[in-house]
Amino acid sequence: MDILITGILLGGTYALIAMGLNLQYGVARIMNLANGEILVAGGYFAFIAYTSTQLSPILTIFLVAPLAFVLNWLIYRLMLQPLVNRAKNRGQLETDSILATFGLSFIGVGLMLSFFGGDYFSYSFMAVPVELLGNTYGANRVLSFVMAVLICGALYVWLNRSRSGLSIRAIATAPASARLVGIDVKELSALAFALGGAVTAVGGALISTYLTLDASTGVVFTLKALIIVIMGGVGDVRGTIVAALLLGVLETVVASLLDPGLTLAAAYVMFLGVLLFRPQGLFGKKAT
């Protein structure tokens, strides 16, 4: 039971890491390798707000979200839209966006280094035990799990109930046909990309309450997010959540019952397994 809860809490963290990328990749078709830098930047923001003005990260996220939204909207409009327009096919867009966002991630690291320096930033926020069903867990992890549930829930409802949400899902499923039924693909892609960035940055702010970050750590989170998104199925909120939870539980089970040294190896084996038996991901649609 203890293992299960620890795993689910970790899964919540992974959902926060991956959800933004899922929107960006699933809808805007940009495999954003700079995603981790946005996450670290969100964490930086929370760190600075907390250490200089004692502003709680729970409140900081309401500042981080709109800022990250605008920033990512601009990034999409200025940097990525030209690539989308230029690409003759899906493959070329993939290559171009990998290269461009890889460059962006370097720029992100460089900017954070020159503004904040390369030191670790870590602070203690709600590092107190919470008791659940007879075992203790970090309050900050529980908090971030609750936030993950809220964010994922809100996204899910929005995507399934609202008109723009439905249009976004239409783009994710069939971009060419979506255009035919009068959906403004460009506008909504930018929206989805910006929203993904905002979710990622908020995730970063929450994660910084219990993980130690520095300017160069973004790539670690990008990798994890990519694996979760691919495993869950591109463009599917449920898939990402399930994959994140599975991964969290698997890592905790391996760490607790087998050997913590094998957690990451087990995660990659599971990733490989999923790809071998369901190449489109757990919830993905078959490629056409």
Partner: protein, 311 residues
């Protein structure tokens, strides 16, 4: 196999070019030789990468995985076996590993393959460090008498082998089959080409070459740490350089590697505090203004010249 006069001329020219390159350590044993090692290393890696990715359009980010395996082969075996045997062994292990990975993943398409190969370096690294940890291995020190010039010649030899192999593949049935696969996989399958086998065989080339490169470079690093041997950045650098040059020609990656190495060198010597920032910007410039790499640029220029001459 028939060699035309043109083929012979090209071969002779290439041999002369390699011979000239091989003279570099006699001229300078310091800075320029160091850059020479870097260029030779990336030429080898990027060219072998393009041999597979050029025709198949699969972007493989597995270079770091094979490279790391190679450094570990040397690191673990340096006291047991002679160096040349380790390089060979690394090549065999790299090829076998690549075959396994290829069999498992090459039916994945596009982005799934990209992400899988990216995770592969991490997986291999985790397994190796776990084994190292549980067998009580101490740190791996590679103390040899191999100096920079020796490493350079080894790499150059490997590069020559890669070019020769690429040239032979291009002339073989395999190369022909691959070009068809690259154009249209369905057509290829219908015309009786075993697409899976062709792709797996070709994937073994960059796997073996990257492992051998790692094995050759291990003495240069002296101390083998998993986080350095399997650094994912290497995979990206190779992709960037190959694409900057152009993966469609055998010599394409070479025209990417040389300017990119000099660019990185200029950036890191002139902007020590903003190295990553400037590299990032350089990256974007390349993506936006050189979409088809230098090969594309050259083709365009040649076409313009031809058009002018025709007019």
């Amino acid at each position: 196999m028939k060699l035309t006069g043109r083929d012979i001329r090209n071969l002779v020219l290439a041999a002369v070019a390699f011979a000239i390159c091989a003279l570099l350590p006699l001229g300078d044993s310091g800075y320029w030789l160091g850059l020479g090692v870097t260029v030779a290393m990336f030429t080898t890696l990027a060219t072998s990468w393009a041999l597979f990715s050029g025709p198949t359009h699969y972007i493989s980010l597995a270079t770091a995985a094979f490279f790391g395996v190679g450094t570990y082969v040397t690191g673990l075996g340096i006291e047991l076996l002679p160096f040349w045997a380790l390089v060979g062994l690394a090549g065999v292990i790299g090829a076998v590993l690549a075959a396994l990975v290829g069999l498992a993943t090459l039916r994945l398409s596009g982005v799934y393959f990209v992400i899988f190969t990216l995770g592969l370096a991490e997986l291999v690294r985790q397994v190796i460090t776990w084994v190292q940890n549980n067998t009580g291995q101490k740190g791996l020190y590679v103390l040899t008498d191999l100096d920079e010039a020796g490493i350079y010649w080894w790499l150059l030899g490997l590069a020559a082998a890669v070019f020769l192999m690429g040239w032979l593949i291009g002339r073989s049935r395999l190369g022909f089959a691959l070009r068809i696969i690259g154009d249209d996989e369905t057509v290829a399958a219908h015309s009786g080409i075993n697409t899976a086998l062709a792709k797996v065989m070709l994937f073994m080339v960059p796997g073996a070459v990257a492992a051998m490169t790692g094995a050759i470079l291990a003495p240069r690093y002296v101390y083998i740490e998993p986080s350095l041997a399997f650094a994912p950045i290497l995979s990206f650098q190779v992709v960037i350089m190959a694409l900057l040059g152009g993966a469609s020609r055998l010599w394409g990656p070479l025209v990417g590697v040389i300017p990119f190495t000099f660019l990185l060198e200029t950036v890191s010597s002139n902007f020590p505090n903003q190295t990553t920032l400037v590299i990032g910007i350089a990256f974007l410039v390349i993506v936006y203004f050189l979409p088809n790499g230098f090969v594309g640029l050259l083709d365009k220029l040649l076409n313009t010249i031809k058009a002018r001459e025709g007019a």
